[in-house]
């Protein structure tokens, strides 16, 4: 990794995910004078205050004006700077959607959006501050790379990869602390390539963001309790999606469950479904996420429980899919 910062699981239990982003940004700022940081009155909330302290001339707080935030970043990128702009996911993907699409994506500029408070992670703030459509919106924007890291370690890797890859990026991270999935940053992160968190042959859970940790816990439990071998894929890159890993999961396990802290319409589940259908192969398929409704108010972990996207919900869904005897259908002659 550029800069040589090595994070460990210990860091991520003491640092919020956004704080790891904030430190990664400082590291990039030290190494690259063209890196600038922008926000819209959310310097504290998005944890880019360290960059502001160290590089006050390269930090821009444009006030509560997200459209202007994105336009300014596009202009800066066009002039040779590498802007990292941070605001809440809901505002980055909707309030400034036209600027994100036109100024960043259409112009294909080298600007990086680090969208915080994604999904229902700002649970108590309610639906005005939940981002449940941002993956659907952003993955439909050409030229944009869309990443939803599983934890702080992966956020660090995604931010570094964004700097090292020309073009617009949208990285959605959570508010607050995330459960730590990875022990460090050195596990072979690559944009567009899913990480196989655990191998399995009975069923594949494809998850992103904080749901990957939950999926792994569920798989662990199901192995002990039900003797199931479940593959867990961390599909951190929503676009370009790892078609190879999905197709392989279809062929190897014939059962796929997707899990996301996002509406089941248009996000990870939809992206995976597109690949599954185009594979032309039969596969039992279930999408876990927010079932096209506004989420309740509460602590993130409680909301995840209510939505059925925590380990409990995933366990129930796996058992349901495993019970289905679709393989006995007369039409089913494609089992490998």
């Amino acid at each position: 990794m550029a800069g040589g910062m090595t994070y460990t699981a210990i860091d991520s239990t003491s640092l919020q995910t956004a704080e790891i982003y904030g430190q990664a940004l400082v590291e990039l700022g030290r190494a690259h004078p063209e890196v600038v940081a922008l926000t819209a009155d959310l310097a504290k909330s998005t944890k880019i205050g360290d960059f502001m302290k160290e590089f006050p001339d390269r930090f821009f707080n444009v006030g509560i004006a997200e459209q202007n935030l994105f336009g300014i970043a596009a202009g800066m990128a066009r002039a040779g700077l590498v802007p990292f702009l941070s605001t809440f996911s809901q505002f980055a993907s909707l309030r400034a959607a036209d600027q994100l699409s036109t100024d960043l994506c259409y112009q294909n500029v080298n600007a990086k959006v680090i969208a915080t408070h994604s999904g229902t992670s700002f649970g108590q703030a309610g639906s005005t501050h939940h981002a449940i459509t941002d993956l659907a919106v952003t993955r439909a924007m050409p030229n944009l790379t869309v990443i939803c890291p599983a934890d702080g370690m992966e956020t660090y890797n995604a931010v570094m990869a964004a700097y090292n890859t020309f073009g617009p990026f949208y990285i959605r991270i959570n508010r607050g602390f995330d459960n730590t999935l990875y022990k460090g940053t050195d596990y072979g992160f690559e944009v567009g390539k899913a990480v196989t968190v655990r191998e399995g042959t009975d069923l594949t859970i494809i998850a992103c963001g904080s749901c990957v940790f939950q999926a792994n816990q569920a798989a662990d439990f199901l192995e002990k309790a039900d003797g199931l071998k479940i593959r867990v894929l961390d599909m951190h890159t929503i676009k370009p999606i790892d078609k190879e890993a999905i197709t392989k999961a279809v062929m190897d396990t014939r059962r796929i469950i997707t899990v996301e802290d996002h509406n089941v319409l248009g996000g990870l589940g939809s992206a995976v479904a597109e690949v599954v259908v185009e594979s032309g192969k039969g596969c039992a398929f279930k999408k876990l996420g927010i079932q096209d409704k506004f989420a309740p108010i509460g602590l993130h972990e409680d909301i995840m429980n209510v939505l059925g996207i925590d380990a409990n919900g995933i366990i129930n869904a796996v058992r349901e899919v495993m019970k289905a005897d679709f393989e006995l259908d007369d039409d089913w002659d494609d089992e490998v």
Partner: protein
């Protein structure tokens, strides 16, 4: 400092060529945003042919002055400016708006050489200009950023976010214009959504405002010279009172000509009108120039 008569006449000649080329492009394209194209053309003529530091042979020259046409629908007049300069082949204008062309009605900066920002969706240009102006300061470059808004475009709230930031950051390396032709698609600006007191709004947002006749080359140069000489920490906004369809008498100041088409008969009539306009412009320069 007054514009010399020779310089004025040189710019009028160029403006006349570009008005004709804009009409031709509209004719070739079958239709186009001729009204707002002709109202803003004098601003672009003066900037590209008197003030801007650019290199046609090096379009991405890092030190070039930037021009951002926030009212991107005036691409039908902007494309002729860029082709005439040599950034793109003039023959391309004959493909404007046609299927498969690199030139659509809102110019794509990744396809049309010389375009600094892809505009079209209104209310974006000034924010981008603030970005390039801030970047100049950070990168210690002397280039200037010019941005032109439409007046109807100023209904978009995002412009005022950008205006606030231009003043907040004291961006005196950015010179802004509004093409105040007082027309928009559905009617007169004051009837659709009142803008007045327009200059006072910009002043309240922290700009030094010059209000001029934006179809008078001499007044344009005087206002831009004023902006160059600005030694305050406030950015300059030049509110240009213009005529929609400027130069073609039967479409002038008529919002119905926001977007229009010329058949052969209208095209010939328009050409005649442009000739008269040029003669009047030359007479004015001869009389008032020094």
């Amino acid at each position: 400092m007054a514009l010399s008569k020779a310089e004025w006449l040189r710019l009028e000649k160029k403006a006349d060529e570009l008005r004709n080329l804009t009409l031709d492009t509209t004719y070739w394209a079958g239709s186009g945003h001729i009204g707002g194209g002709l109202s803003v053309l004098d601003i672009m003529t003066v900037l590209y042919h008197k003030y801007m530091h650019i290199k046609v042979e090096d379009p991405q020259w890092a030190d070039r002055d930037r021009f951002i046409l926030s009212k991107g629908h005036a691409g039908i007049a902007y494309a002729p400016v860029l082709c005439d300069l040599g950034f793109n082949d003039k023959e391309l204008l004959k493909t404007f708006n046609l299927s498969g062309s690199t030139m659509g009605m809102h110019l794509d900066s990744n396809k049309v050489v010389g375009v600094d920002a892809s505009t079209g969706s209104l209310g974006h240009g000034m924010s981008i200009a603030v970005g390039t102006a801030l970047a100049a300061r950070l990168l210690k470059k002397d280039y200037k950023t010019f941005v032109v808004l439409g007046d109807g475009e100023c209904d978009e709230g995002s412009n005022w976010e950008a205006a606030m930031s231009a003043a907040h950051y004291k961006l005196t390396n950015m010179i802004s214009f509004v093409d105040r032709n007082k027309c928009m698609i559905d009617g007169r600006t004051e009837d659709v959504m009142r803008l007045e007191p327009f200059c006072a709004k910009w002043e309240a947002f922290g700009f030094i405002v010059k209000e001029i006749d934006g179809n008078n080359i001499s007044e344009l140069c005087e206002a831009i010279d004023f902006a160059y000489a600005n030694d305050t920490d406030k950015p300059v906004m030049i509110v240009c009172n213009t005529l929609k369809g400027c130069g073609i008498d039967f479409i002038e100041d008529n919002y119905l000509w926001h977007y229009g088409a010329f058949d052969d008969e209208k095209y010939e009539k328009a050409k005649e009108s442009l000739k008269k306009t040029y003669a009047m412009r030359v007479a004015r320069a001869e009389k008032e120039g020094e």
